[in-house]
Symmetry: C2
């Protein structure tokens, strides 16, 4: 949950005076996202999400994120539409922080996705990848393979306090990934954080993607690999071949993977498991004293890394 920055009615009324969205009727701080402060804003023109970007987001990246949402929305992807002010700007300043407003999207984040929802996700991700092809912005993935070992070293000796032998496990896995990471695969814009809480459904129908603040240019199939980890395990932690198969066939019904992409998918899946293990581990070992967010346990991703290491028959991934 978030809402790190408080705003007053006067500050918000002043901010909205620069927009053509009518009179402010109400606003509520909402518990959404862990990086920024978010408010649900109601005006004569409808409902909007106002985001104040806190320190963890690099302000230089904001034009990329907002430009991408704008581009995807205009290309028919269900995602928040950045709202421009009277000067045509989508990025402003409020309470000393960069701030942007986007349209409010209805929909529910599912806590336990069905195989049908995984298929919808695959289709929508492939459509997003295609729609992103003529987006001209570029942002390097700040959490790609080159960044993992430095991030691992930042946790230093404390890694084994989480689980005995964890440091050696990660070290060994990074050796493997560095030796086997694919080169030359199709790249483009990826969401890079498409966990169930960033995807909305209305019943079985996918109604939108949100939270583009990790989006970047990287291997397209890596975005799919992230979802295999984030969507295709059951509540009990068991891998679901059915969900993975449905997710990948949904994706391929819109955009076919090349043979090279298919061949690379298992190592991309292992890589994405390490990426989320490393960030969760770092957050777990570095909880600030005044934290209002309890970090997610890294244990879930330790189990996933170990699971993928045991897989020799790649058919389990639905390929």
């Amino acid at each position: 949950m978030a809402v790190y920055t408080s705003i007053t009615d006067e500050q918000l009324t002043g901010f909205l005076a620069d927009y053509n969205i009518g009179q402010l009727l109400s606003y509520k701080g909402i518990a959404e996202g862990v990086e920024n402060s978010n408010f649900l804003v109601h005006t004569d023109a409808g409902y909007f999400i106002l985001t104040l970007y806190e320190k963890r987001v690099n302000a230089d990246d904001l034009p990329y994120f907002i430009g991408l949402m704008d581009h995807l929305y205009r290309h028919g992807i269900n995602c928040p539409k950045p709202v421009r002010n009277k000067a045509g700007e989508a990025l402003g300043q409020l309470a000393g922080r960069p701030a942007a407003m986007v349209t409010f999207l209805d929909g529910l984040s599912v806590s336990n996705p069905s195989a049908g929802q995984c298929e919808e996700l695959g289709k929508a991700m492939a459509r997003m990848h295609l729609a992103g092809q003529d987006f001209t912005g570029y942002r390097k993935n700040a959490l790609s393979i080159d960044d993992w070992r430095p991030l691992f070293h930042q946790s230093g000796n404390r890694v084994d306090t989480i689980e005995d032998g964890l440091g050696a496990l990660i070290d060994c896995e990074l050796d493997y990934l560095e030796a086997h990471w694919p080169k030359g695969l199709p790249e483009g814009i990826i969401h890079a954080d498409l966990f169930p809480d960033n995807v909305f459904f209305l019943k079985e129908k996918l109604s939108g993607f949100i939270d583009f603040y990790f989006s970047c240019n990287d291997i397209l199939a890596y975005d799919a690999a992230i979802c295999i980890n984030a969507w295709c395990f059951d509540e009990g932690g068991q891998f679901s071949s059915t969900k993975a198969e449905k997710f990948l066939s949904g994706y391929q019904s819109i955009r076919k993977f090349s043979d090279e992409e298919k061949k690379a998918l298992p190592v991309l899946i292992r890589g994405s498991a390490i990426r989320f293990l490393l960030t969760r581990m770092y957050d777990w070992l570095n909880v600030p004293d005044n934290a209002i967010v309890i970090p997610k346990s890294p244990i879930e991703y330790i189990i996933k890394v170990k699971f993928h290491q045991t897989i020799t028959n790649f058919r389990i991934y639905g390929l």
Copy 2:
């Protein structure tokens, strides 16, 4: 801010199946209130606030609070309207907690009320007092004069860690209040916590009262005394005779105070200052280790208690 309990889409969908308010379209945990978990819920039928009552609220009191909101709404007072389920019940159970849904009210909480807004507040409070006259529920004020000394003693020797001599100051003030507390004044339902964050405005027009979870049966003029403290000091902490005069004249344009009520108002104002000093002091000295809410400083109300002690000419209160 709050949201102590997380709910899943499945839990909420199940809960809403008992209501006639259409399909769930979205919900967000909101940072509202400090006692309960609140969610803004959007369905085909509109927007609602869902509250899960946490431990600090006595479940036995809930029928009173909900019955009162229902009564006031039906008598034309702008307040949330409890939504009844198919069985006619306004109080249910969700995630192991008592839960109720009310209609969503637009409006903004003002951080620095104008004199005009104080006048509107006075009028609306008087209307609420009149509308409550035929409400048949009864709840004793759990934070009335008889409760103050025991609450003071719970903070024990630690009181003076907040300010040197504070214990003696409170002790002496309680002596005064116990000797001078009025008897026989008109009683009825009072909100008992009508701070600016519990009152919504759309520009200068008052659009609603929320958060009835301290409401009770007590001296009507005591409700007004609470607002003198909560609304009639400027941002710099200076008492504003103009705001107090406007508030009281607004109130009296709807419901005239008797001579006894007018005479008693200064001591009621001193009493309400002590009541909020005591609870803020208690919360300040008893912050749980896992607190996600930073308690309000008791200092503001120490200053207010001292201010009221110096007043010999009651005209300053606008009487």
